[in-house]
Symmetry: D2
Subunit: 398 residues, 4 copies
């Protein structure tokens, strides 16, 4: 990729973040609904901090920080950079106000643009690409987090206007799910190509998968509703032990954004809308996904199975752009995985414990951000992500 097309993509990414933020108020952008979420203003500042800290500070002659405190305030988790402001308190940062954060973006973008226009080093271009990918991840979080914040408010605000009778993703057909069969194979997974990928997708390597079936589409709301109505949330035999304890402590008996007021409804960026039974069920935890799979006499696929199936059948339904798909695979290093040097090495590797891999991408993921080898990951009790279920089955057993 030439640096000019990179500059275009970078500019478009920067503009896209602003276009998301433009839909909400400064007050909305400043609140944090739980420690796992961040205020949208914080996302806007942190994605800027990333360029300032990893690029401007390293490459700009005579670099001056925009504000001496921002290095700490908007550092997410990079111990190599230094202290971080306490994550659960990001909602208390009413200053800098949104206006100053937008100014921070403007000034940083100016410096970045100058740097990129002057025959930049390859290493810098790689960091710009990483910055774009990083900002795209935060664009998804902006939507995910604002949905959670609005759901905490009894007024149930909508970020987007109510659609003309339609959901916010492509209409799903009511086609029956089919079991797609795959023979036992020595497959190769991990990123292959010359484009960008995260370090956790490498190295490409061999994994052996025994014969398996995978479902042609995601589990939909109607199917999941049957599980709810069959008492799925009240039958310990279906649940992982930790999941069962979690469910009872949290008094959970349905997906996070469902409610039943005369009819079943689901909270969305359009506010509460009637539950669309043919759309994939979403915003489930790993525990709920596993319990549903047990109830359905199936299981979750491993990430090797998912990637292998997607290699073979790239047109498989709802692979991308609808819901992330929980896998049975704990997030861990591929054989031969090497963490990058320096603070940037904290991007992925240090999170490889007690999280589960999700594959595909969701309706909240920026379009250019999906990839066959992409490894998303979250703890097993995570519900506020747009995550659903694609079932799998071993040929014998299960």
């Amino acid at each position: 990729m030439t640096s000019s097309s990179l500059l275009d993509r970078w500019s478009a990414t920067r503009a896209h973040s602003l276009s998301i933020a433009a839909r909400i108020s400064a007050e909305d952008a400043s609140a944090q609904s739980m420690p796992e979420c961040s205020p949208m203003k914080w996302h806007l500042a942190h994605t800027t901090w990333f360029y300032e800290t990893f690029i401007l500070e390293a490459f700009q002659p005579g670099f001056q920080p925009f504000h001496p405190s921002f290095r700490v305030l908007f550092n997410s988790y990079y111990n190599g950079i230094g202290e971080q402001f306490a994550r659960p308190q990001r909602g208390l940062l009413t200053r800098p106000d949104l206006g100053l954060v937008l100014e921070y973006r403007r000034v940083t973008d100016l410096h970045m643009r100058q740097l990129m226009q002057n025959a930049p080093a390859l290493q810098l271009l790689d960091l710009v690409e990483l910055g774009i990918q990083h900002e795209q991840q935060h664009q998804e979080l902006m939507l995910t987090d604002i949905l959670h914040l609005f759901h905490c408010n009894p007024l149930y605000p909508a970020m987007l206007p109510r659609p003309d009778g339609g959901p916010d993703v492509a209409p799903a057909t009511a086609r029956p799910a089919e079991w797609l069969e795959f023979d036992a194979s020595l497959c190769e997974i991990g990123y292959m190509g010359n484009g960008f990928c995260f370090d956790n997708e490498t190295p490409r390597h061999r994994e052996f998968v025994e014969a398996f079936f995978i479902s042609s589409r995601l589990v939909n709301n109607g199917e999941y509703l049957a599980f709810v109505e069959a008492g799925g949330y009240h039958n310990p035999a279906l649940w992982l032990s930790e999941g069962w304890n979690w469910l009872r402590q949290q008094q959970i008996d349905r997906p996070l954004y469902w409610r039943h007021e005369g009819q079943w409804e689901e909270f969305s960026l359009h506010g509460f809308v009637p539950l669309d039974l043919v759309q994939p069920v979403s915003h489930l935890s790993f525990f709920e996904a596993s319990a549903y799979a047990a109830w359905a006499g199936a299981r979750l696929p491993t990430e090797a199975e998912w990637e292998f199936a997607a290699q073979k059948m790239p047109d498989m339904e709802q692979l991308y752009n609808n819901c992330w798909q929980w896998t049975a695979s704990s997030y861990s290093a591929y054989p031969g995985y090497a963490v990058s040097d320096g603070a940037i090495g904290e991007y992925n590797g240090k999170f490889m414990a007690n999280q589960y891999v999700l594959r595909g991408s969701s309706a909240f993921t920026p379009a250019q951000h999906a990839r066959l080898s992409y490894r998303n990951f979250f703890p097993s009790a995570t519900r506020w992500q747009r995550a659903g279920i694609r079932l799998a089955l071993s040929t014998s057993g299960d």
Copy 2:
């Protein structure tokens, strides 16, 4: 008091709340720094809710609520009114936005004004008076809470411009404290007069106080600093047992808003300012006040002692307008105290457990709000209130 002068006072009170709020941004006004604090926007709405719920709903013909959800959203703790939005989550209410809350105030004020101009019933006037007093209490909280919020922010914003070399209260003299002596007496305490008082100040009744001394002024920063530097926070013999456990768990070794960066400084509405050694020490918990008193070979006064001394020597220094003064008295009912009927009866009585009475008033208290018989109260670990120490001593003993 005629209803027209009441209307004037009511109007002035309403305007004063807006003038406080005008000094901060909508983002500032929406955040909540801890469960005990509330966002300034919430204070603005709740003080309006009070008029709407207790007056308009009862007295306005054809009453229509401004918004059907506000009855729950802005109910602080009145079970008699119904459900309340969870207190620790008030900072998540980015909607209604500040603009709508101001509109809520404008519309409610319009209705209130109409009602008051039309030969209102005495009962209504009493409720207006209560509403004024209630709003004044929240005006103090607005300042107290915003100070706490700003202190949580590493940028340490100031709500007020930096004064020309002066603190935000009247300059204190460095006069030595004197012990004022009072003989044993059967005194009378509690409200006496025809003006307004809260129900917890009644009935006026007799209490016997044995002979005692009380200090002519409050403990100042310089004196408290000596306690800090003498290791007061590290000597369990000075502390109540619960206070010692609290101090160690919270790792407390100085007043909430003090810091030492080359010199001792104190956080204020002007930001961090050098510690003024002759100003009263403030923002202390009951535990800290008690420990200091023990170190100084003295004790805290009871509320009967405080009120009796203030009756006898109304010009005693710093009785009002500087710092609330912790007393040794647990907050409880006066003999013969009767709770009002209905939800308004929840105003005071139900909090008479595990709180300590503070007397006087502070620099954050609206000027008209101080009163000889006034009983403020907070739990013993409370630090974010503007509370200090006036020492007392028994004639023999101690």
Copy 3:
């Protein structure tokens, strides 16, 4: 009191502790059911530690500690003595075993006896008296704590054999409660006499009480059951705010030891027995006592009222030996109260915060331990103590 009769009382006290412990196994004696309770073995050791630390260490020539670790292990809360073993973990001290603790008692008693037989100093005798009183307090806790432990066990063991149809306190008559009237008076409260009292009962001093009524007897189980069945635990208007939050968080809807299995039953040292409707209700928190009083249109007495009434009518029913009686008075220092020097000064004074005074004594209190001026105290949520209700009323008001 001569030192020989003191020696007799001391011996009897030591023997009484053993006679309580003789009724349970070493396993029973080693467990701790919650942080507020202690294992019986710990009580046996701590009461011995008290003599060893405050008397033998000070007065015995050539003193050698029984075991070098016991100074820390069995120090309850005396910072002046040094470190303390973490209170919530006392149940983990399976060593020293019960046998060694009994040996610790035997050896310490031997030394104590020698010391007392040899013309002891007055100061020593005072400490022996304090040690006796201290051990008596722990004898009550032994019963209170073992009852709690056994209640945690689904086998519901009984420490005592099932009585022949009777409860473990004197049968209560079903006499109607009467309101005993007292005029407004300047009374004197606090210990008067030449015998032993705790420092918190001094100095005797004057308090003024406005006219009041006090009930001739305690509230009984039948009366309290009416409160339960009238929905008392579900009506927030009756409860202190903190009590209401506590009740909902803990999901409390009846006294700690009540259960309803076909009939109402109460857990006791005899195991579960049918609820005796004419016996005083017991094992209530201050919150429950206050809510009941509000429901009954009355209030709790202050400790001055209680003591004054008991002075005037010493034959009043159930003053002692049945249930401790919650008062409305927060535990605080009497005017002129002075803490003793040294570690022994930690006995009472440092607990004067956020606790409420109970008066009288209970069926678990050693007979010689009750006293008109006695001040027991516990936090407002305490339920495992044998505490009940004597109602009071102001002449006007309430």
Copy 4:
């Protein structure tokens, strides 16, 4: 295996549990040091409950439970059997006392023996085998848990007499560790044979492992001490993010049972002994094992690598009987794994989330209980297990 030799093994297993318990007192056997541990008395009862519930109840004609409450009291986690007594409160079960639990064992054994002597069904024999294996697992826990309990006691009791200058495992040589090399291979892992295995070891299946090195022996105390002394516990770059947060919250800076009193010492069943530098380091969490590996420029092996290496080099040093060895593999189902029907199906499958697999066996594991395909598993913060480190390395990378 014939049923008579099974009977012999069963008898020996039952006797072995008693021989462990014989070394401690009834008090020791009744305490629980943390929720993850159980009192030894509980282990003795639960292993008996297992036979009573899964065998006697199903196969014994005219079955009568030993005690009606034991079905609940000693049910560990089988929802299919019904309610369970709250795990964190097992230490409160002073009744049944140890004597009654031993009687429970005696009576149950009598019934079991009768049943096994009368031409038992194959299904029953399978359950006896499972019961033996289950009891062996609890024998290891008995030692692990008593070690933890004794470590909580400042007297630091020893369960075993101090050895004559030797540790409680075979002396380790100070041979340097070597990297054993393995080529990339399609291997087979999982149980193969006709003996007993747990369901989680099945089905045997293929996994592909890329080329790797594995260490010829475990990391020893001397090597781990170098990590401690090099500041390993203070360098976030070495730690998984969750591990770093855990370490700081718990203030951990060394292995659980290490202390430094003049010299480095380690707590063991013999009490504190000098740290043996050539013995494998033990009682580490997964987080500590991972951090050490990062510091050493290596990584933990996957369970497939471990099992493959152990197949090829069964004489590899310290595979068994010293320390369990943390692997990088999250505990999950093998492809084609099927959970058994009924409550017995809760044995393993429901724990397959957020735990890591350990391989080998430890000095606390009964000798007959080790197996090439054995999968032990614990959460990543677990420290009280006897778990250590065998390093691995990818051929390229790392």
